[in-house]
């Protein structure tokens, strides 16, 4: 079984935030307003944060999404197993089961889980641009990056229809697909021949806050020489 992982080369990343927009459109993440954003209600599965990383004089711009931990602190604390680690290592969320207690959001050290404070709202004119592959979340539930899991399902279907195995290029999350600086690489960490596996072994590779024992499957490559 594949272990999906994402490598982000911070030296290549320009902080252009194309991935942020791609994620927003792909996953039907609702828009904010200045007021809601200021009150911590900005809905985003992927955003740029200024992180102080060891060895850098100033804060680096870090694309931050669910780190898809192998030992996720969020799934342990969920009282209803609405969030759980699926067999392929993706931290999944069963929206109709979530009771909205927000314990997972508080347990996550990366603060990447977001809560639907209100019912998601699009202007009527914009409703058609929602992606039918991704379910709309009702108010009162928690959501987070799924590594565009729907793309995996679609890729599997396509591969099955073509009567072949799923190939590395078949399944790529929206953020990786759009990254203009080619800073993001996605693939199967358990495949020793994959590009992600090779990059994850780079001396520049680190997992953010791995000292907490979360074992993330998002791997960053350090900026600088």
């Amino acid at each position: 079984m594949a272990r999906w992982g994402l490598v982000i080369d911070l030296d290549r990343c320009t902080g252009c935030q194309a991935c942020v927009v791609a994620c927003k459109h792909e996953n039907n993440v609702p828009f904010s307003t200045p007021e809601t954003a200021r009150g911590g209600r900005l809905m985003t599965w992927l955003q740029l944060v200024a992180a102080d990383l060891p060895g850098r004089p100033t804060a680096s711009a870090l694309p931050l999404m669910c780190q898809q931990c192998d030992r996720p602190p969020c799934t342990d604390v969920c009282p209803t197993s609405a969030t759980y680690l699926n067999p392929e290592g993706i931290v999944a969320q069963i929206y109709p089961r979530c009771i909205g207690c927000r314990y997972c959001t508080n347990a996550c050290p990366y603060a990447v889980k977001v809560f639907n404070w209100t019912a998601p709202d699009w202007p009527d004119a914009m409703a058609p641009m929602r992606n039918p592959d991704v379910s709309l979340r009702p108010k009162g539930v928690v959501e987070t990056c799924t590594f565009c899991h729907h793309r995996l399902i679609a890729a599997r279907e396509r591969a099955r229809a073509a009567g072949r195995e799923i190939a590395p290029d078949d399944y790529v999350p929206a953020c990786v697909a759009t990254c203009p600086a080619e800073a993001m690489v996605f693939g199967d960490l358990s495949d020793p021949h994959s590009e992600v596996a090779a990059l994850a072994g780079s001396p520049r590779a680190f997992r953010w806050m791995e000292e907490l024992g979360t074992q993330p499957k998002v791997i960053y490559l350090r900026e600088g020489e």
Partner: protein, 436 residues
């Protein structure tokens, strides 16, 4: 039929204008809270001022506070019963009622805090036992059951006494609740035994409840939540706020129902001494908790520490420190100020302080997350304040209602007491103890 405890029974059977006025006022607050809650149900938790990363606020603070206060009762009365402190007799019922009623508001605040209260039962339908929240559900359920039984058992003889002198709806109610109590020696023997068992049983349950509540926080790896002493620290805080709540309730009941004969200065003094002990214990735990954080100098922990001691939460933190330690210690350590008025002031101060303590545990850690995401200054919305006011008002209303249905002082226990004068329970070891 006249009664030796007519002073206890009379307030049950008569409802005066003062009671009505208070009931209407508190009822209005509760009604307002009901409107606020409907508003929140309709708009979702967007009606609060919570946001990322401050996902928990006033409701969870109230939850922890109410669960803490619930230790008032059962735990205190059970301990005093087990150690056979004779002076406990007039106050146990008062304490037990607080426990049972306040637990509903503890649980209720969790429901208020849910994004999907309609799915609350998923906790039972799809339980995940690795979640401390499920431990909470389990232990609070057990505690609520146990303390309800523990409240009910000693009520039976008193209910039977009321049954015998009422008719109408009261008569029907008391008849059902008295479950055929006729005061035979066999019944008395069974009752004493059941009470004894429950008193022993309820103590570990009560300790577990607040320990588990603390573990909701301590089991995460968030800075200043992830602490090994949180269990005992929360239990101590709970007993602390519980005793303070009893004293406050005692003073009110004494004043309103003119029960000066039953609730004597010695009771206040004794409970005051207990409160003093808890004040010192609370200080010890707080000091230990903050000293280790500060000395350890772990940056993320220190960020929360600084936010509390010198940052945006400093006013709340120092207000908490003053009202949880300085005020009660100064008042209670001095026998001359350990009067009824003194202990009541100290108790109110402790209750305010303990609420602030819960707030400064919940919110500052969330306001300073490890990840550098946008944070903001959390100020609860009108809905949150309204619901909090509603909870307190509803609690007071229910407590008042209880006094109009059941005797707030356990009559049979008073009668069963040996005719010895009330003695201070911890007089000897303390130099400033009250002389009998």
């Amino acid at each position: 039929m006249s009664d030796a405890h007519e002073a206890v029974i009379q307030p049950i059977l008569t409802i005066g204008p003062v009671f009505r006025r208070w009931a209407v006022a508190l009822g209005a607050v509760v009604a307002w809270a009901a409107i606020a809650w409907s508003w929140q149900l309709w708009h979702g938790l967007g009606a609060t001022n919570l946001g990322r990363p401050i996902y928990w606020g006033l409701y969870i603070t109230n939850f922890v506070f109410f669960i803490g206060v619930s230790h008032a009762g059962t735990l205190i009365s059970a301990i005093l019963r087990i150690v056979q402190a004779e002076w406990r007799r007039p106050i146990t019922r008062m304490a037990e009622v607080i426990t049972v009623l306040v637990l509903f508001f503890g649980v209720g605040n969790v429901v208020l805090d849910l994004g999907r209260p309609d799915r609350a039962l998923n906790v039972i339908l799809h339980p995940h036992f690795r979640s401390p929240l499920l431990w909470d559900v389990s232990s609070i359920t057990v505690y609520l059951t146990a303390s309800s039984i523990y409240l009910y058992l000693p009520l039976i003889p008193d209910i039977a006494r009321l049954r015998d002198r009422t008719s109408g709806w009261r008569g029907r109610l008391y008849r059902r609740l008295a479950i055929g109590w006729s005061g035979t020696p066999r019944q008395w023997q069974r009752l004493e035994r059941a009470i004894g068992v429950m008193a022993v049983l309820v103590i570990p349950i009560a300790v577990s409840v607040h320990t588990v509540v603390s573990w909701v926080f301590a089991m995460t790896i968030q800075p200043m939540w992830h602490s090994t002493i949180f269990g005992p620290y929360f239990v101590v805080g709970a007993i602390f706020s519980g005793i303070a709540a009893i004293i406050t309730a005692m003073a009110i009941v004494r004043r309103v129902y003119h029960l000066e004969r039953y609730l004597r200065p010695e009771h206040f003094s004794n409970l005051g001494l207990l409160l003093l002990v808890m004040t010192c214990l609370w200080f010890y735990f707080t000091f230990a908790e903050y000293l280790t954080t500060w000395y350890g100098h772990e940056p993320r922990e220190l960020a929360v520490f600084n936010a509390k001691l010198s940052g945006p939460f400093a006013p709340l933190f120092w207000m908490m420190f003053v009202s949880c330690f300085v005020v009660p210690f100064v008042i209670l350590a001095n026998p001359r100020t350990r009067t009824i008025a003194g202990t009541v002031v100290a108790s109110i101060s402790v209750n305010v302080g303990m609420w602030l303590e819960r707030f400064t545990i919940v919110v500052p850690s969330l306001s300073n997350p490890r990840a550098p995401v946008l944070t903001f200054m959390y100020r609860p919305s009108w809905v949150e304040w309204s619901l909090m006011a509603g909870c307190f008002a509803a609690f007071a209303l229910l407590y008042m209602g209880f006094t109009k249905v059941f005797p707030i002082i356990s009559m049979w226990e008073l009668e069963a007491a040996a005719p010895v004068p009330v003695r201070p329970v911890v007089a000897a070891p303390l130099p400033m103890g009250v002389r009998p």
